[in-house]
């Protein structure tokens, strides 16, 4: 004789082994109520998905985020105050540590700002080498962004693949300046030393092998239905809002606004480089993802051109008041040794005035506003940190999304807390 489910349930309920049908109904109703529960959740500062020490206060209604309050400042080190207490060249290692993922562009912004203030021209070879190193740094930063962003979403494989590529770039940096992460690879007026002879070969080897790796990542992600479901239509910001929030970089271009500092206000040798600027259409996480992936491709193109066009010549300006003389000159000429001493111990003097200069760092427009009152120490150094400003748009982008989508949105903004907090 077959029995219905109801009969079996009632029998088991009679023995106390299952909730009675009435209790079952109450349990199911309570579970539905959770979707209306209002909770304030604290995310961070220690959290694997916030990409650093970022604290977010999230008001939730069930799974939907109703309000986000970012609470940065856990990595605040007083960089702007420190900038008021040392010579211009001495501040360069501090700039490394702000955007520590892309230290070269972090330094480059400061150095270019000081060069603008001083009115100093950098020799051509130095400009091209800076372009190569900056684009390598852009690829390295985007690789780290890619690995961590998709790992947060769940595609864990890609992380170590992108780290493998990043290792090659860090080796190239090590061959140039001895450091992998915090480089101290620039000086005001040019570069401290020329690149080693093996540099061009190593870079060419890297950029020749890179397209295959980019194809690997695209093969894993670009048409992956799970990945697309997680990021399409999430975290949308319109072009108007993006401009009002002061977004820059891929976060702005994902919304379709064609603004890239390398095109708008070219610095170093970018005015001689031919490259495209990828733009999105809808301003969602997917468009920002595509922008950054294509930017890596375009960086390879720029590096190839810069290597081909690189002239020979000096790598440091010949302005004797600014340039620290080379080791050969210092050891053989008394004037050079005197200059070396004076510039190292007393710094070079800048004219009085204030300037703002920005570059296209992988995170967005990184700018420096420097006020000088003459003398060798700046009066005010203000960092226009793209990560800090882009963070301000997180509430706008992620309110109304589910909490799992919030993680995708944070990754798509590509923030580094060293820059947010300075």
């Amino acid at each position: 004789m077959s029995r219905s489910i109801e009969e079996s349930t009632n029998e088991l309920a009679g023995y106390g082994l299952m909730p009675s049908p009435n209790d079952q109904r109450q349990i199911v109703d309570a579970q539905h109520d959770i979707f209306k529960q209002e909770v304030t959740l604290n995310m961070g500062p220690q959290h694997p998905s916030t990409h650093g020490v970022l604290r977010l206060l999230i008001d939730l209604e069930g799974e939907i985020v109703t309000k986000i309050t970012p609470d940065p400042g856990y990595l605040h080190r007083g960089m702007e105050k420190l900038g008021e207490s040392m010579f211009y060249n001495q501040f360069i290692p501090y700039t490394d540590r702000m955007d520590y993922i892309a230290a070269f562009t972090s330094e480059q912004a400061f150095v270019i700002a000081v060069e603008k203030l001083l009115g100093v021209t950098v020799p051509e070879r130095a400009k091209y080498i800076r372009v190569v190193l900056a684009e390598l740094q852009r690829i390295a930063s985007h690789l780290l962004w890619l690995g961590t962003h998709v790992m947060d979403i769940g595609a864990i494989t890609v992380f170590l693949y992108s780290m493998r590529e990043r290792e090659a770039i860090l080796d190239i940096f090590e061959s140039y300046c001895g450091a992998r992460l915090t480089l101290n690879a620039l000086r005001v007026g040019g570069l401290p030393q020329d690149v080693p002879p093996i540099f061009k070969e190593k870079v060419r080897e890297f950029i020749d092998g890179m397209p295959a790796h980019l194809a690997e990542y695209n093969g894993l992600l670009a048409e992956n239905p799970i990945f697309l479901r997680r990021i399409k239509g999430i975290g949308v910001i319109s072009a108007e809002d993006a401009i009002s929030f002061g977004l820059t970089g891929a976060s702005l271009r994902g919304s379709g606004v064609n603004y890239d500092v390398r095109k708008a206000a070219p610095y170093d040798a970018y005015d001689r480089m031919e490259f495209d600027v990828p733009l999105g259409t809808t301003g969602d996480v997917y468009d920002r993802f595509l922008c950054r992936m294509e930017e890596m491709n375009q960086s390879l193109r720029i590096i190839r051109q810069a290597l081909d066009q690189m002239p020979d010549g000096p790598v440091m300006t010949d302005d004797v008041h600014i340039a620290i003389p080379s080791r050969d000159a210092t050891m053989s000429s008394i004037e050079a040794m005197q200059r070396h001493f004076i510039i190292t111990l007393k710094g070079f003097t800048a004219p009085a005035g204030e300037i703002y200069a920005g570059i296209e760092s992988p995170k967005g427009e990184l700018g420096y506003y420097i006020v000088s009152r003459g003398g060798s120490i700046p009066y005010r150094v203000h960092v226009r940190a793209p990560s800090f400003i882009n963070l301000g748009a997180i509430p706008h982008m992620a309110e109304g999304e589910m909490i799992a989508d919030l993680v995708a949105v944070i990754g798509s903004i590509d923030i580094v807390l060293g820059e947010v907090d300075r």
């Binding site: 609470d71 940065p72 400042g73 605040h76 007083g78 702007e80 105050k81 420190l82 008021e84 207490s85 270019i112 060069e115 603008k116 203030l117 009115g119 100093v120 021209t121 809002d241 401009i243 009002s244 929030f245 002061g246 820059t248 606004v257 603004y259 708008a264 206000a265 070219p266 610095y267 170093d268 005015d271 004219p351 009085a352 005035g353 204030e354 300037i355 703002y356 200069a357 920005g358 427009e365 700018g367 506003y369 006020v371 009066y379 005010r380 203000h382 226009r384 800090f388 400003i389 963070l391 301000g392 748009a393 706008h396 907090d421 300075r422």
Partner: protein
Amino acid sequence: MDDKQQEKPGSATADSISQEIEALAVRKLAEKFPGLVEEVIYFRGEITVLIPKDKVIEVCTFLRDDPDLRYNMMKDMTGCDYPEREQRFEVIYQLYSLPYNQHIRVKARVGEDEPMPSVTLLWHAAYFQEKEAYDMLGIKFVGHQGLRRILLPEDWEGYPLRKDYPLEGYH
């Protein structure tokens, strides 16, 4: 930015195209707000305009919305401390026009306990940046929808970027 002219600060030579067009902003400001601009500085191809703080919102709205100027992005906003002045703080806005690719810097001076108008209704970017200026310098922005410390802990005393705050701090 690679145009490194050896200009003296304060000189008004407009020999680059960008200076001519940026001088348009100065001309239009002089037309719309006669006698308001206190100082104009050209230096290294940049233009700085000093205005009184009470007119910040009107001037910035004009710069943002005028069809010939369209400074629609506030790239950066910060403060600076000049303790020897009567109005010790200076609030500096770096504005940028995306359609015309032009920059302008607008400055306004404000004293220690004076209220400073907030531009959060003009640009969303001001929300975080005014918080930081308050946190670091103690400039009080009126009209901000939640002026609290952002980088330092809420119970921090003192404003570190002031010149009378020691580099090593007090603790």
